[in-house]
């Protein structure tokens, strides 16, 4: 009886299913290719740009045909590759080649702002990248979790570069990423000093004080119910306070150096930590608490063995929210008075002097710091709360 319902029947059935799956995938791939070919054909009818005031066509003496042929070869190679994933890597080379074309033409001194041939060609390249990412995101492990988002971000950066340079956007409005990278390298010592003042001094100290105080008061408020009742409405009030309002006051109270920035950060981070910790402590289930009671465990044991581990996902939530709040708080507070160093100070003074490159470089440092801080906490969270339903690996 069990033999007829189990083993032999399932085998052929699965193979049939797989076969049907392959056929439908093959059919959809052709449609994708067609969508690529149409803009490419349209692109060939348009000029690639203007050189010395004269319109330059695809076959007007530039190297453009070489790029075109290269891309076509990779697409053909991708179609004939032994597996979809290997094909995707070959097609990725085609995407790179397509995006090198405008950079090459720009270096030759070609004006791309009227070169619709190039822009249509790039649209086709974006569709090709779409196909590549679609295929790669089906792959397990690092390819999906690191390579795909990495390629996505890189694609955005390259598009930014090409659009800004191709349409000659003034650097004062929006510099190209390469120019920002240049400014980063050129002003590295200044940026490092700013980073040290703002992040390593103000943010770290303010963050530790704010989160630590929020956590400690939450533990206290958990034992003293009227504290929780009194403080929670204040939390709503505090979250509505504008940073630009309290920052100048804190500068008056605590002076120009880091203590005033740390104070602003404490005001911003204290209540999110308090509220999240209280919610976490309240999240232990009755049955889990009864269990501890049945063991004759007192308040302290119950806190350490049950309630705090159980609250970890909430604690990390608070820490992650605060990581971005702290950085914003420090930078904004520096607008209102600081020793002549710091990321907020740099932005406010260099904007006034129209040195937008340094401003963008500082913004980049801030963005990288913020996401690094957040990402680090997220990794730590994954390591310590792997048991939580939202983190469990299937």
């Amino acid at each position: 009886m069990s033999q007829t319902t189990n083993g032999p029947d399932n085998g052929p059935g699965n193979e049939l299913d797989n076969g049907a799956y392959r056929t439908s995938l093959g059919a959809s791939v052709d449609w994708g290719l067609l969508a690529l070919i149409l803009p490419t054909l349209a692109a060939l009818t348009q000029p690639v740009g203007t050189l010395n005031g004269e319109t330059l066509s695809w076959f007007g003496g530039s190297m453009a045909p070489m790029f075109l042929i290269g891309v076509v070869l990779t697409v053909v190679g991708g179609r004939t590759a032994p597996s979809r994933r290997k094909g995707a890597w070959v097609e990725l080379a085609g995407v790179v080649m397509a995006w090198l074309l405008p950079l090459h033409l720009l270096n030759e001194g070609v004006d791309l702002s009227a070169g619709w041939g190039v822009w249509l060609f790039l649209i086709a390249a974006i569709l090709l990248l779409w196909r590549v990412l679609g295929a790669l995101s089906a792959a397990p492990g690092w390819t999906r979790s690191v390579v795909v988002p990495g390629l996505f971000g890189l694609g955005l950066l390259v598009a930014w570069e090409v659009l800004v340079r191709g349409f000659q956007v003034p650097a004062i409005l929006l510099p190209a990423p390469s120019r920002i990278a240049g400014a980063l390298a050129q002003h590295a010592p200044v940026l490092w000093d700013d980073f040290g003042q703002t992040v390593l001094t103000s943010v770290v100290r303010g963050y530790v004080m704010g989160c630590g105080a929020g956590f400690a008061v939450a533990i206290l408020a958990d034992r003293v119910p009227f504290l929780a009742r009194g403080l929670l409405p204040l939390g709503n009030l505090a979250s509505a306070i504008p940073v630009v309002g309290i920052a100048p006051i804190m500068v008056m109270w605590f002076g120009f150096d880091w203590p005033s920035k740390a104070a602003v950060i404490v005001v911003m981070t204290f209540f999110p930590m308090l509220i999240n910790t209280l919610a976490g402590l309240a999240s232990a289930e009755r049955i889990q608490l009864d269990l501890m009671r049945s063991y004759g465990a007192g308040y302290g044991r119950t806190l350490v063995k049950l309630r705090l581990p159980n609250a970890l996902p909430f604690l990390f939530n608070g820490l992650k929210i605060n990581s971005t709040l702290a950085l914003i708080g420090a930078i904004v507070a520096e607008f209102f008075g600081t020793p002549v160093v710091g990321m907020g100070f740099r932005i406010s003074t260099e904007v006034a002097r129209m040195n937008l490159d340094i401003v963008w470089a500082t913004i980049t440092v801030a963005a990288l710091t913020g996401s690094g801080f957040y990402g680090g906490l997220a990794l730590l969270e994954r390591a310590t709360t792997a048991w939580h339903p939202s983190m469990r690996q299937r």
Partner: protein
């Protein structure tokens, strides 16, 4: 081995066996205040004596106070009137001395601990050495058939295995008294039969006293030496039925006429309770 017994045992115990009572409750009442001003009577004048080595089932419909009675024995609730002793002590003293093991309706395993570390939890609180904790956890997990699952997390186990792990956790305290609150209520019938057989063998093998809350007649008759039939509104004891099947039981016993006769008596008792309802 155990503390001196109280001076006099109640009638039921004298008839049952000469063993000393491990739980003795007299005229227990528990009334909850509620928000709408109408207090709920969860227990009303409940008197019960449980002798050492007994397997006592509390059976009755929902709301009859069977879980409340178990929680009063465990000092998870305080009675509003009446007296109760556990091993001659107040329930609070018994709880603080960790004289009982409690198995809840749900496994209540902590998901951040492995199965083994869950079983070690009460032992950590008792302050046993690491080696001792590990030895006991291994022993009890082996006893409930979970050897080899020490390093798994609870959520990687099936519901039946989780509940077995929670039984191992209760046994790790090495209590004389095991309090079980519908431990198999959420499991499918096949798993439940299997665990019932396992439990009756465990009880016979260890000589512990068990108090077992259930609303399954078959489960109660199969496991118990005595069955306490309870009735709701207000929660009270209707009948205490001796279940004098041989102590060594297999699942086949459920087909015997003796089994059917006792089950019939339990069912009659439950019906009597329901006649008070509309």
């Amino acid at each position: 081995m155990h503390s001196p017994s109280p001076p006099h045992a109640s009638g039921a115990t004298v008839r049952q066996a000469p063993a000393a009572p491990i739980v003795q409750a007299k005229n227990l009442s528990l009334i909850y205040p509620t928000a709408d001003g109408k207090p709920v009577t969860a227990l009303s004048e409940v008197s019960l004596t449980i002798a050492k080595g007994d397997f006592v089932s509390l059976i009755g419909p929902s709301g009859c106070g069977k879980t409340t009675l178990l929680r009063v024995i465990a000092d998870l609730e305080r009675p509003t009137a009446g007296t109760i002793t556990v091993e001659g002590l107040t329930p609070e003293q018994a709880r603080l001395k960790r004289l009982y093991g409690y198995v809840f309706q749900a496994p209540a395993l902590y998901p951040w601990r492995t199965v083994e570390r869950n079983v070690m939890l009460p032992l950590e609180i008792m302050g046993l050495s690491r080696a001792e904790r590990q030895a006991r956890a291994r022993e009890e997990l082996g006893r409930v058939g979970l050897a080899g699952f020490e390093r798994k997390f609870p959520w990687q186990l099936s519901g039946g295995m989780q509940q077995r792990a929670s039984i191992a956790r209760a046994l790790a305290l090495k209590p004389d008294l095991l309090l079980m609150d519908e431990p198999f209520g959420a499991l499918d019938e096949i798993t439940r039969d299997h665990l019932n057989l396992h439990l009756t063998q465990l009880w016979r093998g260890t000589g512990k006293t068990c108090v077992f809350v259930t609303h399954s007649i078959a489960e109660a008759v199969f496991l118990s030496t005595r069955i306490v039939v309870m009735s709701p509104r207000p929660g009270r004891i209707l009948d205490v039925i001796d279940c004098d099947l041989p102590r060594e039981r297999t699942l086949d016993i459920r087909e015997s006429p003796e089994f059917a006769a006792i089950a019939h008596r339990v069912r009659d008792g439950l019906k009597e309770g329901h006649s008070y309802d509309d």
